[in-house]
Symmetry: C2
Subunit: 354 residues, 2 copies
């Protein structure tokens, strides 16, 4: 099994997760709802940290819950665990081995806070430390770069947020049936997104001589921008710097000059209008080289080149689909640069940071 | 007044803030303590967002409080404000004009949550929106790049965290007298740090041909790594990518090769031992070009070059001092590259993101 096969396996992995874990996650959601949490604390590292950023938007948007991304160093280095009363504490780690993520969950459980592990390793330390476990069941991931464990972790977060809302309208106005339909539509949208691989490959080959770039996203898609940049760094050795479109204008814009490579994830949805204004300015006034991921033809037209998404995905589940052309792009840039797609130099699959 | 003068004004600005606002902030702390908050929500953008990251560590370390960095886009774009009952909500903006930061504070106040504005503009919208205002009183900042408003915002955060702990031991074991002494020692340490400018200038001149780099920090100094990277981007047009030392090993390490420029902030303190292991490996195994900021001679010796800090600063106030050689470094790299230190291209002092 190679990286490209793992990328292509993702719709099947997500379908399996939705089919096999929906009831189990439903029970977890019911157990958490009884506790009437006032906040979510998420502990994660690496790609899982981008799933945590997604969680920040999903729990914020559907539940109006503030989400604190844990600073595991405070627990592991300073021995100071946060007070987590009234919090639901979620640890995300595909390997379940990250000692500092495990440390946060152990501290939370010691305080009596409900804990959830999202992991591909249901027999791991992280799973043992948690009261509730969502086994993403993505199967062994052999390539060093996380792909199917990333999208499956996003889906687990989305399922958990849905389960916590069961029986009432969420803050975006959706109901049980609407959210279920949104989740059920994801695997097919993923298949369609992957079908654009030949066109992604040709854009990637033309782009592959770039050594650095800026990656933009906003709202739910900020997580996608972060994850796209990480894949480009670890696989393709491209120094890719991710920004929310708002923060980008506070300083990093100074880097831009004609031909500067910018990548943007800008699907339909609430931030699309402001993203279009920014991308239009970047092309028209700054003459950047712009690759855009979008389902919207007008937004794609703003790019020097573009990667296509299928339309009709609910905004809160969109990042599960949006990352696919980004993964394919990073894969084909890596291949075009003659680099190792399976085992990037220096890094390990499991990093035991404390 | 020019950027370099504003950099040099910082010890005086901080001394003034400590002298003039200590009692006022003490009263705010007492008012907040009565509410027994379970979390802190911070809203900020740009450099102020790095003050928010500092707040995450300070309130976590001294108070065991989880800190959620607000996602202002949820409020401003999606109209979904987080539930902020049991939260203290802090907005940080030197201009006090950022509409999305103002939006979070207005929503919090509407919910009855206590709100604090940290700003250099006490007549601003942000100040009007907040129940409590800490006027950092740094005086007009004319250069586009934030320097004195950044360090003064950090000090305001530190004063607020101290005030909230008055009368009891904090989670790091400190008492009122110890925390007061730590704050009082900051201006002199800042003076000493600035006195190393000639040596910083010569390191910066030798380094100035770099176009990209990685910036590392950990724990409290993660905020410094982020702010150092932002100054290098906006002023010197160096694509500087900041990481916590832990996250760096999850992927971005793949970018590194012999001669790759890495900057690290690694003062004495709890994370120093693990930072030294990483820096030793980066020099010995990967042969990177390494510039280290530290008060510890053994840590400085790990660098190809180093920038000196005075010793004896309490770890929780260290970022106020650690950023100074970083600012001087960015300033002198910018000057050596022949770029405009006062008005970097494209960006405005005040960015009205929504």
């Amino acid at each position: 099994v190679s990286l490209i096969e793992e990328i292509r396996e993702q719709p099947a992995a997500v379908l399996r997760l939705l089919d096999s874990q929906r009831e189990h996650v439903g029970r977890i959601g019911a157990a958490l709802a009884v506790r009437d949490p006032l906040l979510i604390v998420v502990a994660a590292r690496g790609s899982s940290d981008h799933a945590a950023i997604y969680a920040q938007y999903v729990f914020g948007a559907l539940h109006r819950l503030p989400v604190a991304l844990a600073t595991p160093a405070l627990t592991s280095l300073y021995g100071v665990a946060p007070r987590m009363e009234r919090a639901v504490v979620v640890g995300i780690s595909q390997s379940g081995q990250s000692p500092d993520v495990v440390g946060v969950l152990e501290a939370a459980r010691g305080q009596g806070a409900p804990t959830v592990a999202i992991t591909n390793a249901p027999a791991s330390e992280l799973a043992s430390a948690a009261e509730h476990v969502i086994d993403i069941g993505a199967g062994p991931e052999r390539a060093t770069a996380a792909t199917k464990t990333y999208t499956s972790s996003l889906v687990a977060v989305a399922m958990l947020a849905d389960a916590l809302a069961v029986g009432r309208r969420d803050a975006l106005g959706g109901d049980d049936a609407g959210r279920s339909a949104a989740l059920d539509a994801v695997p097919t949208a993923m298949e369609t997104a992957l079908a654009s691989e030949p066109s992604v490959e040709s854009v990637a080959r033309a782009w592959a001589s770039q050594d650095n770039c800026i990656v933009l996203g906003r709202g739910f898609e900020y997580a996608t921008a972060r994850e796209w940049a990480l894949k480009l760094k670890e696989l393709a050795q491209v120094a890719a710097d991710p920004y929310s479109a708002a923060d980008f204008q506070h300083g990093p814009l100074a880097l831009v000059e004609p031909g500067y490579p910018i990548l943007a994830v800008a699907p339909s949805g609430v931030p699309n209008a402001s993203m279009r204004v920014l991308l239009h300015r970047l092309r028209g006034d700054y003459h950047v080289d712009l690759v855009v991921i979008s389902d919207d033809p007008g937004t794609r037209d703003l790019g020097t080149a573009s990667l296509e998404l299928p339309g009709g995905t609910a905004e809160w589940t969109q990042p599960v689909v949006s990352i696919l052309p980004a993964q394919l792009f990073a894969y084909h840039v890596t291949a075009a640069r003659g680099l190792d797609t399976e085992s990037p130099r220096w890094i390990s699959k499991v990093t035991l940071t404390r």
